[in-house]
């Protein structure tokens, strides 16, 4: 067919109207060579490696990678990410901001009025705003530190790109900590001398061989091991399968301490020890009381490897200030476990080799430091720390931790920092008395109360007066707490920039929105197997960037070019040169240990396998020689009592682990008269945080009437006239949302679950608006865990639930199926 553009409407008017018709959208094509039915190319993701069949410029099929024996079904959602109707297709600028720039009406944020602009315009505006903020205010007004789970790939790691480009322009406020493990990573260095939450754990084969009892303390291995920080291998499932057999044969006793029957418990078919939500510490104090009174604790171990037991035990025995003896009977009244059961449990722990495995949920609550610290105290009293299959771990559910590691070096990354830290366009490094680094979850506080001084980890933080924020691959409108408070805060920001591939709520509440492409529209390289360091995987570009999207590398090169630093930014190297360089450096680091083929061979073959790793026992070196292999604590020993924390003088985190009442607690605790149900917002089973929530067809496999499922107990449901599958309104004094009820015995009375990462879809931009999809952080509390960590307290949250009456508003969170009311 030939393309024509004839003159217009000769029949109706004498005037020529050619100006009304734009240029043709079609053109003659060179006859394309007939393609083969497509090739199976290797790529990776947080959900695991896969092969994709690409044909006619489109990803047609996805199948798990042949070396992954336990692939997650979430791979089915990959295509839904690439071809999501929620993709950001063009650079966009919020309408009122386009008109008035930083003086725009910020109450309109979230009203979805945007103007399409060209890349040049968008980058110009981005750059001009950075200039303005640096000159008009200074580095204290710009916050760039917030980061999230980037798409995988070491070259295109989005946070690195954003931070490097902006650092080459000037300084900005940074963060410390993260939303997942804020309390844990702050307290554990005082106690066991490492963050623990991101440390390798004892290898599964050793646990399987030596442990007689395994306690899963709020840890849902089967659910959480599906995803990894790097490309996942799912090797841990092989060991979980063996564990299941051993449980069946009664060779290992596994007890899940949890108010909920977890996926892991059901998979292993193991026991559950129910505990009232947020009352793990009283339970553990009851255990400590039993161990001490029945002389089941290991005095030798405590004397050789720990400090401060003698300062702690009076608290347990009622000899300290509060004069309350922490007997099992005392614990029973709070944690809901019969005193005799507590004693029985304590004796069981002391009887044989016991491995205690903590999840992260118990530290994502108010005073989240305490259960972690108390867990370490129990482990020290049992005296098995450093023995294979004994002691305590805080991360066996994360990124293949516990899978024997090969010890091979993985590929590095695109540099996050400028090569020359002093060479910036704006050299002003004066934060005007504000802190240049803030605890990660306290930025909303900073916006609302700039200049306020808060305590954090022994220091005093002066919250900076933030005016501009830049997000890249980061969705705080999912991971931060208390949406309505966030709305209030965002009205005070002058400019918000968000770089993403999909219309997250963060993008909707931003002023400049830049479309990045997905990780499958670019070439990259990644470590395969996260902590197990199983191999290196080539991430082949499957299709070209869709619409006007660009790689993070290209976006920030464009920005750097605005201030003449693009060459310095890229070091004069392109995408593939970076991929190759990371590979070559990795090969060099592994030389003599692991032979790696040359880059071309690797790229063609798609991966390099380092084989199975070696077994390893956590803290075994410390146990063997506590002097030379001292822990990283101030004393080098396990600190049951921390003089250092004691000196800080905080009332909510003192010298040793203690029980503190929560701001809100179910089962008779504060606030339970008004909102009786505890809402847990744990990591989702079928997403990675908020990633993949936009994958339409896959989401439909778990939603209820198109909403996020709310899991609740049958009795609670019956009381409220709620049936399985009903639409429910979940609410408290902070907000309200719609969700679809799933009624199940797995949830104890007074316990409900909404998985975090559900996309926020408010009815309108107004404060208090009903969330139409079911984002639990519409309801959660935005307070720090304590003055020590100032971390997230998402799991301290009470709600009430009612059957939703009347016409339900359409889900507004995504470009979901059209719902016509």
């Amino acid at each position: 067919m030939t393309i024509s553009r004839r003159s217009f409407l000769k029949g109706i008017a004498a005037t020529s109207a050619a100006g009304l018709i734009g240029p043709s959208l079609l053109q003659q094509a060179v006859a394309a060579a007939s393609e083969s039915p497509g090739q199976w190319q290797v790529s990776g993701s947080h959900w695991g490696a896969f092969r994709a069949r690409v044909y006619a410029g489109k990803v047609q099929e996805i199948k798990p990678f042949e070396a992954d024996s336990y692939p997650t079904e979430m791979l089915k959602g990959i295509k839904g990410i690439i071809y999501s109707p929620s993709r950001i297709r063009y650079p966009m600028v919020r309408y009122d901001w386009f008109l008035k720039r930083h003086q725009s009406d910020t109450k309109q944020r979230g009203d979805n009025r945007f103007i399409r602009v060209t890349w040049d315009q968008a980058i110009d505006m981005f750059y001009q705003e950075l200039e303005r903020v640096q000159t008009q205010y200074g580095p204290w007004a710009l916050h760039t530190g917030q980061t999230g789970w980037r798409q995988t790939g070491q070259v295109h790691s989005c946070g690195n790109h954003m931070e490097r480009a902006i650092a080459m322009h000037g300084y900005s406020v940074k963060k410390v900590g993260d939303y997942s493990t804020g309390a844990g990573q702050t307290i554990m260095p005082y106690v066991l001398g490492s963050t623990e939450v991101y440390a390798q754990g004892t290898s599964w084969p050793l646990i399987l061989k030596h442990s007689k009892t395994i306690v899963l303390w709020g840890s849902d291995l089967v659910k959480n091991l599906q995803v990894g920080w790097n490309c996942e291998t799912h090797e841990a499932y092989e060991y979980l399968e063996q564990l299941k057999e051993k449980v069946a044969k009664k060779q290992i006793r596994v007890i899940s301490v949890d108010p909920v029957r977890t996926k892991t418990q059901k998979y292993l078919n193991c026991e559950q020890q129910y505990v009232n939500p947020q009352t793990d510490v009283p339970f553990m104090l009851g255990i400590a009381h039993t161990l001490y009174s029945e002389k089941l604790h290991d005095e030798n171990f405590l004397k050789t490897y720990a400090l401060g037991f003698e300062d702690f035990i009076p608290y347990v025995m009622g000899k300290s200030k509060d004069k309350v003896e922490k007997t099992p009977e005392w614990a029973e009244s709070i944690c809901g476990i019969a005193a005799d059961d507590i004693r029985e449990f304590a004796r069981l722990l002391a009887k044989q080799r016991t491995q205690i495995i903590f999840g992260w949920c118990v530290q994502r609550q108010q005073h989240g430091e305490q259960p972690y610290w108390m867990g370490a105290v129990i482990a020290a009293m049992l005296g098995q720390i450093g023995l294979p299959g004994g002691g305590i771990s805080y991360a066996h559910h994360y990124s293949s931790i516990g899978v024997p590691s090969t010890g091979a070096a993985g590929p590095g990354g695109f540099p996050r920092n400028p090569d020359n830290p002093d060479d910036r366009i704006h050299k002003n490094n004066d934060f005007k008395g504000y802190s240049s680094t803030i605890p990660v979850a306290r930025w909303v506080d900073a916006i609302i109360e700039p200049g306020k001084k808060i305590n954090a980890n022994g220091a005093t933080i002066t919250l900076p007066d933030l005016k501009m924020m830049v997000f890249s691959g980061c969705n705080p409108w999912h991971h931060h707490q208390d949406r309505n408070r966030m709305k209030q805060a965002f009205q005070k920001l002058e400019t918000v920039v968000s770089v993403d591939f999909t219309w997250t709520a963060t993008c909707r509440f931003a002023d400049i929105v830049l479309p990045a492409c997905t990780q499958w529209e670019r070439n990259d390289i990644d470590l395969y197997g996260s902590y197990s360091s199983r191999g290196i995987i080539a991430m082949h570009k499957l299709v070209d960037p869709l619409f006007q999207s660009k790689t993070d590398f290209d976006i920030f090169t464009l920005l750097a070019k605005r201030f003449g630093k693009d060459k310095a930014y890229t070091q004069g190297k392109g995408e593939m040169e970076w991929v190759k360089q990371l590979y070559d450096e990795c090969a060099q680091a592994n030389k003599g240990k692991f032979e790696m083929p040359d880059f071309a061979t690797f790229w063609q073959q798609g991966w390099v396998d380092f084989g199975k790793g070696e077994n390893w026992t956590r803290q075994a070196d410390f146990r063997e020689d506590p002097e030379i292999n001292a822990l990283g604590t101030p004393s080098g020993f396990i600190e049951i009592f921390s003089r250092k924390i004691d000196r800080y003088g905080y009332d909510d985190c003192q010298g040793h682990p203690m029980w503190f009442e929560k701001a809100e607690r179910s089962h008779g605790g504060p606030g339970s008269d008004k909102h009786p149900i505890w809402l847990q917002s744990c990591h989702p089973d079928k997403r990675l945080h908020s990633q993949m929530c936009d994958s339409e067809a896959f989401r439909a496999t778990y939603t209820v009437q198109g909403r996020e499922p709310l899991y609740m107990n049958p009795k609670d449901a019956a009381q409220r006239g709620i049936k399985d599958g009903d639409l429910v309104r979940v609410f408290n004094q902070r907000g309200q949302l719609l969700a679809g009820a799933v009624v199940s015995d797995d949830y104890a009375p007074g316990v409900a679950r909404l998985q975090e990462g559900a996309w926020y879809g408010p009815e309108s931009e107004a404060i208090g608006a009903l969330d139409t999809y079911g984002d639990p952080n519409t309801l959660t509390m935005d307070i720090g865990t304590s003055q020590l960590a100032q971390a997230t307290s998402a799991n301290t949250c009470l709600v009430e639930i009612e059957k939703y009456q009347g016409d339900a508003p359409a889900v507004t969170a995504f470009g979901g199926p059209v719902e016509i009311s």
């Binding site: 530190g145 980061t147 070491q154 790691s157 946070g159 690195n160 931070e163 940074k174 963060k175 993260d178 990573q185 554990m188 260095p189 005082y190 066991l192 001398g193 490492s194 963050t195 623990e196 939450v197 991101y198 440390a199 390798q200 920080w229 400090l307 070096a409 993985g410 590095g412 990354g413 540099p415 996050r416 920092n417 090569d419 020359n420 002093d422 060479d423 802190s435 680094t437 022994g458 220091a459 005093t460 902590y531 990795c586 060099q588 030389k591 003599g592 506590p626 002097e627 030379i628 001292a630 822990l631 990283g632 604590t633 101030p634 004393s635 080098g636 600190e639 003089r643 250092k644 000196r647």
Partner: protein, 393 residues
């Protein structure tokens, strides 16, 4: 023979009878000129590349390697020949170097390095001689052509500019950083740009007794100069004072503190600061022979007793530097690049000295650092922590 010599002496010890005064003076003068011309010509002949590569040892090894480098071929067509770099231009030093060449003649005759294997085995030692020489004369031969004052820093890449400016300020010796620029590095250093090689490259040589130096990496310590009985390990970037140099061994003193709980084997830089200086074997730690014990006090923050000690032990000669700043610079770069792969790395002064070990340990899982570099980076972080920074936070 005896007679001939005596006769000769009789003749030369008396005034000349037949030869005129003018003739003798003139004759001696001319002979002198001819001799001196000849001498210099011969000297110059040994100072050419043809002469150097006359031996197959040089021709087949180092000469071939040179040809891969910028000192052989480049844009501007200026090249360096063997003597440009390896023979001092100063006359005295040149003559001394020529005499040293007697060793090379010996080697040529007896085939010390007449095969590639022998050469490679010996390369480390040979290279060390040149590095020592260049370290001592501050890379004079390099600087005959490359002058800090004539460098246009603006034409350098950003990375080079930073390093070069710093080097220029201190008139740093070129060889400190540019080992292996014209020939291959010795095999053990050729874990390429391996971290260990980079650390070793920072070591200076020619240690002065009574001076303080810093270890570039973790080093084994011994009880005496025979270096046979191990006494423990010195940590990276640890300050030591040299007491004696005996050939391959140097005697050092470490001023440190230790906790007296347990055997007191671990040495720390300062009281109540867990900045590791190294550790001792149980025997050494328990013996008075190697250490002088000083004051004792209790650390209030942990309740542990500490004791000041001065430990005297032996090290193998090498791997010390006089500039800890150079180590810190390397550690900082490593920290900024390696530790930012996963997330923004906390500022050095974000934590205090005793918090850093715990934080650092938790970050190591995805970082490709060997033990030496880990130890160095940790020490760097501790020494730049909030305890040492002004107005941290």
């Amino acid at each position: 023979m005896k007679n001939t010599v005596r006769r000769f002496w009789q003749i030369v010890s008396k005034p000349s009878v037949h030869l005129s005064f003018g003739f003798l003076t003139m004759g001696g003068f001319i002979a002198g000129i001819i001799f001196w011309g000849g001498f210099n010509t011969a000297l110059e002949a040994t100072n050419t590349e043809e002469f150097c590569i006359g031996c197959h040892e040089m021709h087949d090894n180092v000469y071939v390697e040179l040809q891969e480098t910028i000192h052989w071929q480049n844009r501007s067509g200026v090249r360096a020949t063997c003597p440009d770099c390896h023979v001092p231009h100063n006359w005295t030093d040149k003559i001394a170097r020529k005499m040293q060449a007697s060793k090379e003649v010996w080697g040529a005759i007896f085939g010390t390095i007449d095969t590639r294997e022998k050469f490679l085995a010996k390369r480390g030692e040979l290279a060390q001689h040149e590095w020592d020489r260049l370290t001592a004369n501050n890379s004079l031969e390099c600087k005959n052509c490359h002058n800090y004052d004539s460098m246009d820093f603006n034409m350098m890449s950003e990375r080079a500019r930073v390093q070069m400016k710093m080097a220029a300020e201190r008139d740093q010796s070129c060889i400190d950083c540019h080992k292996g620029i014209a020939h291959h590095l010795p095999e053990n250093m050729n874990s390429g740009d391996g971290m260990l090689a980079k650390l070793e490259a920072m070591a200076t040589s020619g240690y002065q007794v009574g001076q303080a130096y810093y270890s570039v990496r973790q080093l084994p310590m011994f009880t005496d100069s025979t270096l046979t009985t191990e006494a423990g390990q010195l940590n990276a970037a640890t300050k030591v004072t040299i007491l004696d140099v005996k050939g391959d061994a140097i005697q050092i003193e470490i001023d440190a503190w230790r906790k007296t709980k347990g055997f007191g084997r671990v040495l720390f830089e300062d009281f109540a600061m867990n900045i590791n200086d190294g550790y001792l074997t149980k025997e050494v730690a328990q013996s008075d022979q190697y250490m002088q014990q000083g004051e004792s006090k209790e650390d209030d923050l942990t309740g542990l007793p500490w004791q000041k000690v001065a430990v005297t032990l032996w090290l193998r000669n090498g791997s010390l530097t006089d500039s800890r700043d150079r180590l810190w610079q390397f550690a900082k770069t490593t920290y900024d690049t390696s530790c930012s792969v996963c997330h923004t790395q906390p500022a050095e002064a974000h934590f205090d000295t005793n918090t850093w070990p715990g934080m650092f340990n938790g970050m190591l899982s995805f970082v490709n650092l060997d033990g030496d570099t880990q130890a160095l980076v940790l020490k760097y972080l501790q020494k730049h922590s909030s305890d040492f920074a002004d107005g941290a936070h």
